[in-house]
């Protein structure tokens, strides 16, 4: 009897746990624009469902907090209700027996602080703040606001060229993004409520694999406006601005310090992730608009070939998009030894075609971001004997995409996590001989919600090596622009929301040189906003519409499908060279993924307000 009962109970718990997985999924797929108090109420209800019923504060108190929270949510409460609710939550926090009640109340108190303005808006104005309101998840999460449902529908109808031009309406780098975009669009895909997010990047890749971007004619430019804009930096952000300004009819001159365009896409991202010839397809298309002149090998700034003063004199506006080009360094003993390089230098050389030979060498890479993975996987391809990535925190704390970490491991990279740099040892000739690290333990979470790492009080670890690659972040080369509102601490440009550099009329800046090192799609998004604002600044409101009619949606397919993942070439093969690692989708795979798109631009909030969401 007794044993049977345990089994039964376990069965119920298992069922509940499985059922809760759906709950977790639902919570994870929470759409953008939901009222945080609605989220809080749902949180509270689910917290209360966990009460065991023993103690008054948790059993009876949470119920009252929930009632008051509902009043606030619906705009029926006054300040007294709010104060009573906060008092009660504090009492619960003070008196709760266990974490069930304590944490529920704690979360309420946190949300009251975090969303104070929203609470006040509900109480005083009986409405949410203006920015609350749902939006199409993928479009609003894309920093360039690409019409994702639109191009997926076009791919579904085999109109690949139209899909590419629709993407280019907001992002002139469909190919680069097809290969390496971090696809924030997928994070809140509504499809995740049913099964898993649509593989949006994979579909984009399918589109550019069907027809090369430079084979798709760009929309016609507006007639010439007679205005000239200088763009400093020929990376993704600068070229994005150039593309839109060119379509608007402005003459654009791009000043690029290096011998080729592309910025970090060419000189930071290894060929195996983004093949240079494919990057050229995007760049060719951008240049094909016709109003863009490129001046390569031309640095801008104080003491360079061209000064900012010259640009401000000769051009109607200037856009600075110089990126973040120098590697950060840590002050550890031995960092000046021979064989220690910054990641950007190493990847830059490879980008120029100077592939180092690491045969017989052991390589240590310091860092946990995508750049660290790029270095590590490139080092493998440079024939290193061993490659070790040393990172202060845990693997799950790494900022690199999980697929990049996985790819590196498959190719033989060893992760040495929870190890902080201590010193670099060198031999008598000053050449690196080993990297010494201190073991760390994970500790209290910081205010930003990251787990801290501290000395674990374990012995030092010595990793013998001949090459050390520092991949711990990048800085912008700010000296030539110092008087242009560069933040002295962050070394980035200070700009308004419009991308206009603070204190300047005609100077705009965007991309990594404003945000610090970030994603390509963020740089592209900033480039587009800059182009629109430069056009406004020049006194225009130019349209650059290419009239593409988007297919009407098919019926929503709500059957549960597995997600089509992109596969890589075998690790054994791919690590031998810099050829692209990722395989594209087949036609069948692509059509299945297209069919999964729920067309949130049509179903749900995407159609209201004349589609201005």
């Amino acid at each position: 009897m007794y044993k049977e009962k345990v089994l039964q109970t376990n069965e119920m718990n298992q069922k509940t746990a499985k059922f809760l997985d759906k709950f977790v999924k639902r919570v994870k797929a929470n759409p953008p624009g939901v009222c945080p108090i609605a989220v809080q109420l749902a949180f509270l209800q689910s917290s209360r469902s966990q009460t065991c019923g023993k103690c008054v504060p948790c059993r009876d108190g949470l119920e009252q907090v929930e009632n008051m929270m509902r009043e606030i949510l619906e705009g029926k409460a006054d300040m007294e209700t709010f104060d009573n609710m906060v008092d009660l939550a504090k009492m619960i926090q003070d008196t709760a027996d266990c974490a069930i009640g304590y944490e529920a109340a704690n979360i309420v108190l946190q949300s009251v602080e975090l969303f104070h303005d929203e609470y006040m808006s509900h109480i005083k104005d009986h409405r949410c703040q203006a920015e609350i309101g749902q939006k199409v998840p993928c479009i609003s999460h894309c920093p360039a606001n690409v019409d994702i449902p639109g191009y997926i529908a076009l791919i579904g109808e085999h109109r690949y060229a139209d899909a590419i031009n629709l993407i280019r309406h907001d992002n002139p780098f469909p190919t680069a993004c097809a290969f390496i975009c971090e696809h924030p669009c997928e994070a809140k895909c509504r499809r995740d409520l049913l099964d898993s997010p649509v593989n949006i990047r994979g579909l984009k890749k399918f589109a550019v694999d069907q027809v090369a971007a430079d084979q798709v004619k760009v929309p016609p430019c507006n007639v010439a406006t007679g205005k000239k804009v200088a763009i400093v930096g020929g990376g993704p952000s600068g070229l994005t601005t150039a593309y839109y300004l060119s379509l608007m009819g402005h003459k654009v001159v791009v000043f690029e310090e290096r011998a080729q365009l592309g910025g970090m896409l060419r000189f930071g991202i290894p060929n195996y992730r983004l093949p240079k010839d494919r990057l050229d397809e995007d760049i060719n298309a951008v240049l094909s608009t016709g109003n863009i002149e490129v001046r390569l090998n031309t640095a801008v700034g104080k003491g360079k070939e061209v000064t900012m003063e010259q640009l401000m004199d000769e051009y109607n506006a200037v856009y600075i998009a110089i990126g973040a080009q120098t590697g950060k360094s840590v002050k550890v003993e031995g960092v000046e030894s021979n064989g220690v390089y910054s990641a950007v230098d190493m990847l830059g050389e490879i980008g120029r075609g100077n592939i180092p030979d690491y045969s017989g060498k052991r390589v240590v890479v310091v860092g946990g971001g995508n750049v660290a993975m790029d270095c590590a996987r490139s080092a493998i391809r440079c024939k290193a004997d061993e490659v070790t990535v040393i990172y202060r925190r845990r693997q799950i704390d790494m900022t690199a995409l999980p697929s990049e970490i996985q790819g590196a491991i498959e190719e033989g990279v060893e992760l040495l996590t929870l190890h902080a740099p201590l010193r670099i040892k060198a031999d008598e000739n000053g050449n690196v001989s080993a990297f010494v690290a201190q073991q760390q333990m994970i500790n209290l979470y910081t205010k930003q919600g990251q787990p801290g790492a501290i000395d674990a009080n374990k012995p030092e670890l010595e990793v013998p090596c001949e090459v050390v690659l520092m991949a711990i972040g990048q800085d912008i080369v700010s000296e030539p622009f110092e008087e242009f509102s560069v933040n002295p601490r962050r070394k980035t440009f200070e700009t308004e929301n419009t991308t206009r550099v603070k204190g300047y009329d005609k100077v705009f800046a965007g991309g990594d040189c404003v945000f610090g090192p970030a994603t390509v799609i963020k740089a592209i998004g900033a480039g587009k906003i800059a182009a629109l604002n430069i056009d406004e600044y020049l006194g225009y409101h130019h349209k650059y519409l290419d009239d593409i009619d988007i297919p009407e949606p098919k019926e929503n397919n709500r059957n549960h499908y597995g997600r089509v993942h992109l596969t890589d070439r075998s690790a054994r093969e791919r690590k031998k060279n810099f050829e692209p690692v990722e395989n594209g989708m087949s036609y069948d795979e692509a059509m299945q993924e297209c069919g999964k798109c729920l067309r949130c631009d049509h179903f749900g909030c995407g159609v209201v307000e004349g589609g201005r969401v």
Binding site: C35, E74, N222, V608
Partner: protein
């Protein structure tokens, strides 16, 4: 993309149908006469499938589908009334009613409410669910519109209408937690929002949630609806006057060809209060010259006095000492009879209409270059599928709001927009490029455009060769107008000029739309001809989506010109100089006609002062308020021997009259208006008011007979038949055709002729189009040291000319009721004038007090005033410098000074 129509076979409720696959299930059902209930659905505007009332069951589908936005597919078997469907609809209604305050007895929409109708149909009197939405306060500060959140079912019809139809985008969705609110801008801050109070949202609301205040005064079933034409601007919006008893209580939009169901604030809320105004003249008045007071008279007394006085003047000084002005707001039939009275009974061609002061330059200019002085293309044609719109001297969002809405829609859909205007008008915010040129420099601008077009090789050589003449001469002139020189004249950036020229010339379909910013200059006619020069040079005439399109100012100012209220033209622009024409009219009218061309209205005043004109009959005009240089007009009216006024109200001008006759408004008579696109539309009688007012046609007929011309009594319909018999371009137009629902744009040559939407196709009315070689001539009065600022005048959205009509609607006066002058921040700062401060404004002709609105709308050294307001009338200041062809005054440019008032004056 053009898709070929494919037919599919479907079955709806057992009926097999073959329908195009482009239809939705709802459309297919509607076409087959099968009713599917809808609530949130508004065709082409709100097809979002939100309310789920239109669900149907489709065989082999698990879910119910929304018929409003689901396309038919081959083999579909559809049930519109299955048990599942009906149950679901009932649940929808229960859910909606739960939060809908069912207070139908006090709701103005009771009887028209879609929710009420459907609840009745599905037999639901009360929701089975409990309501718990917060009760939010109504937004009702806007004088025209109210939003009651507790009646709102969140169907989105209003929001979609504002965004997609009105193109204004001021209605949004807000949230309170998980509920949606409509952010209706009708609360305390209604005056500072961008809401234009057009009320198109209210017209779209299926319940009483968003409702016009006018609608509170009646219930469906208590009213009759009379289809007629709006009496404000010349867009020619079609609407119904909603009549309760003998009182107009509301206006409802009709789906007219020019308004497509849209209306503006004036049309919807300002077009009937004046009809019932207690200030209406109710009986004839004769001035007692001893007391200076007007005294009530009988019609016989009044008309006999006029007949004898006019006959006396005619006898003593000849017929040309008499003159008559027609009313551009009255129907074609009235105007026709007035000009017939002047020509046949007065015996003179001294007849004109107020087009003289607005678009006479258009009538003259386009007649000279193209052969016909009217808008070449329909409104719908130039705002639906066009690549680029060149908008010159026109602020349609305010002066022709329903055209403005359609331009906004076009721009939203991707049409490029070039705004050429000295002010930052609303549309300049949406324009690809705005040429903020100095007032009075249109000819230079156009010549500059053509200079670039020629230099860039963008001339349509074939068109120029085969369809036009005079190109070489024009080419020589515009050679001098380099962008740099034009930029200096116009105070614009030469790059903007080049770009505008290329953009316009290269666009496939590009209309020029212009208005009084082009005409109201001492060089207005040349400005107009410059517009046709540009269009001809690039072959953009006689084609869809192109043309030269003047937006006429008054509801029937097009008609007033068409009907021959012009000193040199008989109806249909038949020339007095053509003996055959004169012979035809002499025969038809049975009288020998005066062959001497008449005096233009604007010259009548000078002639009166010189005693060349002694007797004047003014039908529905108020030149003291509307004409340039008010003091000059007053002097002229005082100089007349005998002045007769036929009007609705005791106007400023009426004070000078010897006899005042009470006429009837558009709501009390039958007739037709010709809108700006030459579309002849019906005006219908809605009410019969108490008082001795007479039909204006009857007044004219009576007076003609009393003066000795035997004019038989005719109805409005019969008058139109006479017009048709004598006017080739109206040959096929009759009330009967219009009443059958035909929509006719002249020329309409015979009873079978379908009318002419686009003019000059294949051949110009003139034969060959003529390039008029116009040189830029500066405005007559330029700023100097004493009067350093340029002043322009214009309309605001909320009023119409003298406000004789709009001033009778309190809400319009509340929104905008006083004189103001826009000036640039720079000038204001120099003069120490703050925004909202009272200032003294003077020109060589007079001084007024107005209120400064300081900002960047106008350029430095320039100012702008509306001419509606008597508490600071801009026309005291304006200059009566006249155009050499059209005799139009230069309202758009005069030199003024603005002065700060002393503290005592401020307080006074």
């Amino acid at each position: 993309m053009e898709t070929t129509k494919t037919l599919v076979t479907i079955t709806i409720d057992g009926v097999q149908l073959s329908v195009p696959d482009s239809l939705t299930i709802l459309e297919a059902a509607q076409n087959a006469g099968i009713r599917i209930p809808t609530l949130c659905y508004l065709k082409d505007v709100n097809e979002i499938g939100a309310c789920k009332m239109c669900v149907v069951e489709v065989e082999d589908k698990d879910n119910l589908v929304t018929s409003c936005n689901t396309k038919v597919k081959e083999g579909m078997v559809i049930s519109t009334m299955s048990e599942k469907v009906v149950k679901s609809r009932k649940q929808v209604l229960n859910l909606l009613l739960a939060n809908h305050d069912v207070r139908c007895f006090s709701c103005g929409k009771s009887g028209e409410c879609k929710l009420q109708e459907l609840s009745d149909e599905y037999e639901i009197t009360q929701s089975c669910y409990k309501a718990d939405a917060a009760k939010l306060p109504a937004k009702k500060e806007n004088p025209f519109l109210t939003y009651y959140p507790e009646l709102c079912i969140n169907c989105q019809r209003c929001v979609s209408t504002c965004n997609k139809r009105a193109g204004n985008g001021v209605l949004h969705n807000g949230k309170i937690g998980t509920r949606t609110l409509i952010d209706a801008p009708f609360g305390e801050d209604w005056k500072v929002t961008d809401c234009e109070s057009c009320g198109n949202c209210a017209a779209a609301c299926p319940t009483g949630a968003l409702i016009a205040k006018n609608h509170k005064h009646y219930r469906a079933g208590q009213v009759k609806k009379v289809l007629t034409t709006c009496p404000h601007c010349a867009t020619g919006c079609q609407y119904y006057l909603v009549v309760k008893g003998n009182q107009i209580v509301d206006v409802e939009p009709a789906n007219g060809p020019s308004n497509k169901g849209l209306l503006c604030v004036k049309g919807r809320f300002g077009s009937f209060n004046f009809v019932h105004s207690p200030e209406r003249l109710k009986y004839p008045l004769i001035k007692n010259h001893e007391t200076g007071e007007f005294e009530r008279a009988t019609w016989d007394e009044a008309l006999d006095l006029i007949a004898s006085k006019f006959n006396e003047i005619k006898k003593q000084y000849g017929p040309d000492a008499l003159a008559g002005f027609a009313c551009s707001r009255s129907p074609n039939e009235d105007i026709y009879m007035l000009q017939k009275m002047v020509r046949c009974a007065f015996g003179t061609n001294n007849v004109d209409n107020c087009a003289r002061v607005c678009h006479s330059a258009t009538v003259a200019g386009l007649a000279m270059t193209l052969g016909s002085g009217a808008m070449t293309n329909p409104i719908s044609d130039i705002t639906t599928d066009v690549d680029c719109i060149l908008l010159v001297g026109s602020n349609p969002e305010e002066a022709h709001p329903v055209v403005g809405m359609q331009i906004r829609q076009a721009v939203e859909k991707g049409a490029r927009l070039i705004v050429v205007d000295p002010r930052d008008i609303g549309l300049s915010k949406r324009a690809d490029i705005h040429l903020k040129l100095k007032p009075g420099t249109n000819v230079a601008f156009a010549n500059g455009m053509m200079h670039v077009i020629i230099k860039e090789g963008l001339v349509d050589e074939e068109f120029v060769k085969t369809r036009t003449e005079g190109f070489e001469e024009l080419k020589k002139i515009v050679e001098e107008y380099t962008p740099e020189r034009v930029a200096e004249i116009c105070h614009i950036d030469p790059d903007h000029l080049r770009e505008a020229a290329l953009m316009y010339a290269k666009a496939k379909k590009a209309p020029i739309i212009y208005c009084l910013g082009v005409t109201e200059h001492s060089t207005g006619t040349e400005g107009v001809m410059s517009m046709s020069n540009m269009a001809m040079m690039v072959g953009k005439l006689g084609k869809s989506g192109c043309g030269v399109n003047p937006l006429r100012g008054q509801n029937n100012v097009q008609g007033a010109c068409d009907m021959g209220a012009l000193p040199g033209d008989f109806p249909g622009y038949q020339k007095l100089t053509n003996p055959e024409v004169v012979a035809k009219f002499e025969k038809a009218w049975g009288v020998e006609l005066n062959k001497k061309p008449g005096t233009h209205a604007t010259d009548v005043f000078g002639a009166a002062i010189r005693k060349e004109i002694r007797g004047l009959f003014i039908f529905g005009e108020d030149p003291v308020v509307t004409d340039a240089d008010q003091n000059h007009i007053r002097k002229a009216l005082e100089s007349l021997d005998f002045l007769v006024l036929d009007d609705l109200f005791m106007t400023e001008t009426a004070q000078y009259a010897d006899v005042i006759l009470p006429g009837t408004s558009y709501a009390e008579k039958e007739g037709t208006f010709s809108n700006t696109e030459r579309r002849v539309q019906r005006v219908r009688k809605a009410v019969q008011l108490e008082g001795e007012m007479r039909l204006d046609t009857d007044i004219f007929i009576d007076l003609m007979n009393r003066m000795g011309y035997p004019q038989p009594q005719l109805t409005s319909e019969e008058i139109m038949d006479e017009i048709a018999s004598l006017t080739p371009s109206f040959g096929g137009i009759s009330h009967r055709r219009l009443d059958k629902g035909e929509t006719l744009q002249w020329p309409c040559l015979d009873k079978k002729h379908p009318g002419t939407p686009i003019m000059h196709v294949g051949k110009f009315a003139r034969g060959l189009g003529w390039f008029y070689p116009a040189e830029y001539v500066p405005s007559a009065e330029l700023p100097d040291e004493e009067y350093p600022l340029i002043m322009m005048t214009g309309r605001v959205l909320y009023h119409y000319n003298t406000r004789a009509m709009t001033g009778k609607t309190p809400g319009l006066m509340e929104r905008e009721g006083h004189s103001f002058i826009e000036m640039n921040t720079e000038d204001a700062a120099r003069l120490g004038i703050e925004n909202g401060e009272k200032v003294r404004v003077s020109s060589r002709r007079g001084t007024i007090i107005s209120t400064a609105r300081v900002g960047e709308k106008v350029s430095p050294k320039e100012t702008w005033m509306p001419f509606h307001f008597p508490d600071g009338n801009a026309n005291v200041l304006t200059n009566a410098a006249l155009d050499k062809y059209a005799r139009i005054p230069e309202y758009k440019v005069c030199a003024i000074k603005v002065e700060k008032l002393s503290p005592e004056e401020q307080n006074a």
